[in-house]
Symmetry: C2
Subunit: 355 residues, 2 copies
Amino acid sequence: MELYAVIMAGGVGARFWPRSKARKPKQLIRIFGDNTMIQDTVSRLDGLVKLENIFVVTNRIQKPRIIEQLPQLPRKNIIDEPFGKNTAACIGLSAVIVESMKKDAVILTLAADHLIKDIPGFHKTMMRAAKFAHKTKGLVTIGINPTRPETGYGYIQIDENHFDQDIHKVINFAEKPNLSTARRFISSGDFLWNSGMFIWRADTILSEIQKHMEDLYEGLEVLRENINQKDFSETLTKVYGQLKSISIDYGVMEKSENVYLTKGDFDWSDVGSWETVYQLSEHDDEGNSKIGDVYTLKTANSYVFSPKKFTAVIGVHNLIVINTEDSLLICNRKNSQDVKSVVDSLKMNNRKELL
Amino acid sequence: MELYAVIMAGGVGARFWPRSKARKPKQLIRIFGDNTMIQDTVSRLDGLVKLENIFVVTNRIQKPRIIEQLPQLPRKNIIDEPFGKNTAACIGLSAVIVESMKKDAVILTLAADHLIKDIPGFHKTMMRAAKFAHKTKGLVTIGINPTRPETGYGYIQIDENHFDQDIHKVINFAEKPNLSTARRFISSGDFLWNSGMFIWRADTILSEIQKHMEDLYEGLEVLRENINQKDFSETLTKVYGQLKSISIDYGVMEKSENVYLTKGDFDWSDVGSWETVYQLSEHDDEGNSKIGDVYTLKTANSYVFSPKKFTAVIGVHNLIVINTEDSLLICNRKNSQDVKSVVDSLKMNNRKELL
């Protein structure tokens, strides 16, 4: 069994404006510590997947910085999609590429912007999922034991009866729920957070796409036939132009009868907003996280990032402050999902220099 | 009767950090509209006091900008004190200078950082006070009818019986009160806000200083004897070095039996903090004042100043945001008096570049 990894790194991270920009989104900035999230994602595979088997799928805007941040990867392993077409296309493309190298390769499909600290636990879970996927040709998801009724995540419902060594049959996928539904999920005990990580064989996911997403499969067949041609890039643009934007969850996972889940033996966060960053950061006695040249007075439970300019904060609670060279964000922690609105407004006003 | 004006402009305006800096304090910045507060203070005297009779007392750090902002004044009328020694010394010095030109000159002692919009009302009040001071040799204060139990102002208690044409005898001065005392003052009806403006003859205030502040008077006599000497500046430094820092309120007004008050026939604010600036600014439908490149969402009753850099504010209420080129202040409106603490902290850490 040979392991491959495909890291999906096309997101723009609008909720992390103003630190996250089109050219330098969430996964490419240092939010925690000295490394970027994509660097952490690759390091996390050390001892599990060989460097030449690690692929990153991104877009043309982000590619240069990804090459810069991941010099250890073969340059050809950084694949840029001509258009963003959601996860189904991205997964199909990478499966075609990996399959051309090894038909029964097991692919770990990962996100570039998840925070996981327990690396042995991560490896253990991945190996369990990979062995199962290799043997049974199943589609394996990683479920996270929910610790709160989070409305920002999708959920997966499982059959609690064991199938095989901590692998469960999946009964149902649920989109991001409202709060009361999330509470019901939590108390039912058979719902887990959908981590968005998938483990399958290259040939398995391609045959599942063939079954459930005929249009995409036709496109992938064209790519497969041209994979070693000089003009592959033009073919890719032509094929991608015609694809629909569909997520793998909606396109395959919710339809297939062949879906399994194993519980992640590790801490996990998708770091979805500044609020999550606040929660995952270290705090002082007042519950503040201060990064840079920051003075606070009568201020508590706030996240203040101001590396270049002196910032004084007085008499506030539960505030996010992101003071970058070109923009300033001040946001109630409760409203951290609304940061996207700023990005939308800047787009509408064509203020590209701030995006 | 000839009118002179002495504008006291030595304050550092720590409560207006980070817009107010040692070299460019509150009175020298554009807080409302196109003019600085000291420019407005001088324009306000147009038609009341001749330009050559207007003096500004400041310090050596601020002098260059004051000359720059008030090119219409004779340069010799911008007087710099070698040390800040509170208002008694400043008033004594200017009285000696004015007395040397005209013994019975009436001096309007004014602050450089008050906001007064009703100029005819201001002139009417000043003329009434000046005529009274010229005739009776009284010390006249301007009281403002209090509209709220403000704890940031001093108060003056008057004898409600008329003395002469809207001039009242002063019974007592009260320092900045606490809230319950301020409420009592307001309901009593015979307490007014102390505007800090004074009207008196040059010879009157000097003889009152002689009566109540012997040390200061001795110094002033030395100055008076040397006023036309070449080395006056050295004499001033020598004399000032020995003076105590005492306010005119404490040194003379609270002790003299010769103190009167006339009520100001005009709006007045001493613009004491960012909170006052918020209140005096125009607001949009959400109660926000936005100056510069500012986006707000779910935000109300806030003052956001960001002329150079894009600022987005989400989900907050009652916030002051001052985003300048070298510093950022974020302050609850309730805490605007605490801005001084930031300045104290910067001083303690010797961060002169931010002061």
